[in-house]
């Protein structure tokens, strides 16, 4: 089966600019996650969707980050305005459903804010 697709692979922006990342999960996977992985650290959950509804966004900095999953398939994560500390790899993952143990990650988008 095809994996989790993410684009772009790399992005460099200046602070205070906006940026958007796109994720296409594995076909049929109802649950989609966005993680932030800062260099040298483990991934940190930003938001979890079940179909097109938000299950958990408690760690999403809502003053600058937003995410949507229209039609319960693709998802976009946006940062506006970006800060230097947002430099990280943004990983998308999907699973069959909540409670489906273990899920599949995409290769991520590496964001550098200068």
């Amino acid at each position: 089966e095809a994996g989790v697709a993410q684009s772009p692979r790399y992005k460099i922006i200046e602070k205070r600019q906006s940026v958007a990342f796109w994720c296409n999960p594995i076909s049929g996977h109802a649950t989609l996650y966005w993680y932030q992985q800062i260099l040298g650290q483990g991934p940190k959950l930003l938001i979890q969707f079940q179909n097109n509804g938000v299950v958990d966004d408690s760690q999403l900095p809502k003053d600058r980050f937003s995410a949507e999953r229209l039609k319960g398939v693709d998802s976009t994560l946006k940062i506006q305005p970006a800060k230097l500390e947002d430099s990280a790899v943004y990983l998308c993952a999907s699973s069959l459903g909540t409670g489906a143990y273990g899920y599949t990650f995409g290769s991520g988008t590496r964001l550098t804010v200068v």
Binding site: G40, Q48, S95, G99, G102
Partner: protein, 111 residues
């Protein structure tokens, strides 16, 4: 309580040796403990996972040992190979949700 601690931060092992990575958690509500392997430029990939009702799980050269009373679990890689060189993350979750990852261990296996 949501934190997962992991050690060592980095590990160098000779080819054929045993690599051991340790993790500890506080929240007794965690019921699923996976290990992920991440190569540079790639997302983490599930390696092996265990539930707290068993003390050990083995898949090929990879074994998880789980100590429920101590709230610790570890990954053992037997006959380590240069291709095993990667960053390894332990994680814990409740009901398959709310995954909490450790900070990672960078493993280098020397030829």
């Amino acid at each position: 309580q949501q934190q997962v601690k992991q050690s060592p931060q980095s590990l160098i092992v000779q080819k054929g040796g045993i690599s051991i990575i340790n993790c500890a958690y506080e929240n007794t509500a965690f019921d699923y403990f996976p290990w992920y392997q991440q190569f540079p430029g790639k997302g983490p990939a599930l390696l092996i996972a265990i539930r707290p009702d068993v003390s050990e799980k083995k898949e090929g050269r990879f074994t998880i040992s789980f100590n429920k009373s101590a709230k610790q679990f570890s990954l053992h890689i037997m006959d380590s190979q240069p291709g095993d060189s990667a960053t390894y993350f332990c994680a814990a979750s409740m009901y398959g949700q709310n995954f909490v990852f450790g900070p990672g261990t960078r493993l280098s296996v020397l030829p």
